[in-house]
Homo-oligomer: 147 residues x 4
Amino acid sequence: MTEKSLTRNDFHMICVTATRWADNDMFGHLNNAVYYQLFDSAINGWTIESTGSNPMDSTCIPVVAESSCKFFREVSFPGLLEIGLRVHRLGTSSVVYELGLFAADADGQRVEEVAALGRWVHVYLDRASRRTAPIPDAVRDLLAPLL
Amino acid sequence: MTEKSLTRNDFHMICVTATRWADNDMFGHLNNAVYYQLFDSAINGWTIESTGSNPMDSTCIPVVAESSCKFFREVSFPGLLEIGLRVHRLGTSSVVYELGLFAADADGQRVEEVAALGRWVHVYLDRASRRTAPIPDAVRDLLAPLL
Amino acid sequence: MTEKSLTRNDFHMICVTATRWADNDMFGHLNNAVYYQLFDSAINGWTIESTGSNPMDSTCIPVVAESSCKFFREVSFPGLLEIGLRVHRLGTSSVVYELGLFAADADGQRVEEVAALGRWVHVYLDRASRRTAPIPDAVRDLLAPLL
Amino acid sequence: MTEKSLTRNDFHMICVTATRWADNDMFGHLNNAVYYQLFDSAINGWTIESTGSNPMDSTCIPVVAESSCKFFREVSFPGLLEIGLRVHRLGTSSVVYELGLFAADADGQRVEEVAALGRWVHVYLDRASRRTAPIPDAVRDLLAPLL
């Protein structure tokens, strides 16, 4: 199966999000940096809500070591988008996510194939020392079953 | 009734939107500029979807002549927000909107009182000449009944 | 003198900033929310650099209680902008700023008159309790001479 | 030479940009999506200013087919950043850029090594049909000498 033919069923979790007026750039479609905002929000929103952690005072914080995105179809405001998330690899202090962005067509019908495919490497750091730290247990317990 | 005690019922239309990781600033709450992004999206999303206009090629475009916001309660990612919209004044080429931002509390219960109150002046311009133009009929037909 | 005829000389401090591709919206000009990002950055950048405070651990934090902006001329990416700042009122725990946004014209010549005029109310809060707190001495010492 | 040891001298062109208050996320450093905004702005600002093209009405438009970034060092508001740009590959309708983000350290001294390294694939499309189109001559004339 090619990357372009991935569907919502290929992801563990789907979250819905809304587009904003300012997401569209001068070409009338979502600016590429917005995809990264949405991937970030899907990962962090899900882990924060699932583990009850507080990003303002947690001992360990996930920072992005590497990210990438392939853009297959244009999407635009207004309308909802869905972000699919799956765990590709789980290490001692890092995790690799894959993310799919799904949209509706001009008639409002959900398009089956992925509009963009992202890859995301989170490395956990100790907040104070900024040194690599083990993934917190609550996060590991959330991610491990998804492998 | 004071502004702080406005509720969802004081607005004509409510739309739901999602917060993003990057909406929170270093103080752990929504950055003030994000409120304006959300108000913009509520107004433009609603008028685009209701009138079927295309912001990339419409003859007349709404530009913001003035905006303001009063911030009553902190809100933050993750979670959904609701934006209420009402029409305060409708002129020949300008319209004044009032917008309320509504949130849930830490337990996920919807808070009745408005978290922020915005005011928004849209002036319609001819796209090419950038001169003031009458509000398009489709937009006027949408807004007039709300007065 | 009218607001529209304010010039750089009417402000205490001018800082230069750069526009970004994604600042322009579908109408080819700076989205209105970006002006608030730039005002925020001018105020906070100046107070942080002048006082040496760290927004991640300072005891008191400034939060926006109210903001507004009047938009007089369109500005757009690419190019530099200048933000002028002056102190309008200094209270025990709040400060009112006025901000002017200045641009260059299509030929790259600086336009004398202000393109947008903002008003900004910062209220200082205790970071932990979120209760109103006196403006920190270092900030007051910075602002008071500007009145 | 490793990627982490690239310096400003490894890039054809350097442009300076400014950080914003809202660029920092809850961890007190630049949110990863902001890097993509800055890369986008460096590429598009340079090509627009060098060729005199207008992104609102040009026949061909560059869209991002793929992008990626490796993050080596944290950077944060306030302060200036420098973006280095070089052309990695130039095809008939696509171009691959490499981008380096450079910062200053806590004492304001320019750090020699790159803080983040981006890769960017622009594909030119016909604005109306959204089909692949040859890179415009003015852009090709700008990029070819840099190979």
